[in-house]
């Protein structure tokens, strides 16, 4: 499956899950900031991606869990270097280049973009069916 095909299916999932227009779903659009996703939408997106691509997504695999509540990883409203390292390890599909310049915990949800989902699905699909 090509990246464009994956993007198309991801876009359909987001249109269904978030009630947004096709045109709003651009690669750089943030799920929370631009597309209005709320926390429960992530569960919906998780389920719909599983169905659309025939893959199993484990709890915490796509979106992080526990990291932002761990006192070792968050201090004074900022994600610590240890926290950032943990996030990078657990979320290899996420681009942290912008976030790590200003790692405010309140901005962590914005790291999830449409491209993030495409990266994630691409890795899952390739792992399932090696080229």
């Amino acid at each position: 499956m090509t990246r464009d095909e994956i993007f198309g299916k991801v876009r359909d999932v987001l249109v269904n899950a978030l009630g947004v227009d096709d045109d709003d779903v651009t690669p750089t659009a943030s799920l929370v900031g631009d597309l209005g996703a709320e926390s429960i939408d992530f569960l919906d997106i998780n389920f719909q991606l599983e169905r659309a691509f025939g893959v199993k997504i484990a709890q915490g695999e796509l979106f992080p869990e526990g990291v932002t509540q761990d006192p070792r990883f968050v201090k004074d409203g900022l994600v610590t270097p240890e926290g950032l390292a943990a996030l990078k390890t657990r979320l290899p599909h996420v681009d942290f280049s912008t976030f790590e310049k200003d790692p405010q915990i309140s901005k962590v949800a914005k790291i999830f973009t449409v491209d993030t989902l495409v990266n994630f699905v691409e890795a899952k699909v390739n792992a399932k069916q090696p080229a």
């Binding site: 899950a17 429960i40 939408d41 569960l43 919906d44 389920f47 169905r51 709890q59 869990e65």
Partner: protein, 178 residues
């Protein structure tokens, strides 16, 4: 007793499907307000089952299906109405039938698909006819908010979701409570 919006469970296939019925009755007080006559506008009373309560009926049907999957140990909370479409009013003297099927189920929650059908007792020859579709997402509260400590929110330890109302309904429907 919790306000129940289904009268009887007629079929339960664990982890797969549940079917429940709700008889719409003019004895239900809310129908007298929905919609009450408005003489100032020349409108006669139009008692119909509120769509919001049809949604609740499906939520209870699907919620029991999801809760039953883990022996009612999980606190199953309706988290999202993914899709809802109702095309016909349910008037007194009709019976609603809710069929909920499990779409996805895992530790953090579940998604269900639902069909709403209507039986008009004045036209039994028509049988049940589909009048809507309602797809839902449920969250397992302890795995998303409380017990796992993700948000630090405090929720009661006991399962406040599946209380006496649900137990009575299941018992009257011949469904064993695990």
């Amino acid at each position: 007793m919790r306000w129940m919006w289904i009268d009887r469970v007629v079929e339960l296939v664990p982890r797969q499907k549940m079917v429940a019925v709700k008889n719409v009755s003019l004895a239900e007080e809310h129908l007298h307000d929905h919609f009450a006559a408005d003489p100032s506008r020349g409108l006669a009373a139009l008692p119909v089952m509120p769509t919001s309560l049809i949604l609740e009926g499906m939520a209870q049907t699907a919620g029991i299906l999801v809760g039953h999957a883990e022996g009612f140990r999980e606190k199953v909370i309706l988290a999202k109405i993914t899709r809802a479409e109702i095309t016909r009013d349910a008037v007194p003297g009709t019976t609603l039938r809710y069929t909920a099927t499990m779409d996805r189920f895992d530790a953090i929650g579940a998604s269900t698909r639902g069909i709403v059908e209507l039986f008009d007792h004045a036209r039994p020859d028509r049988g049940f006819t589909q009048t809507g579709e309602i797809d839902l997402i449920f969250s397992h509260l302890d795995n998303n908010q409380g017990g796992a400590g993700r948000s630090g929110e405090a929720f009661p330890e006991h399962n406040f979701v599946f209380g006496e109302g649900f137990k009575t309904l299941l018992r009257c429907s011949g469904i064993a409570i695990p």
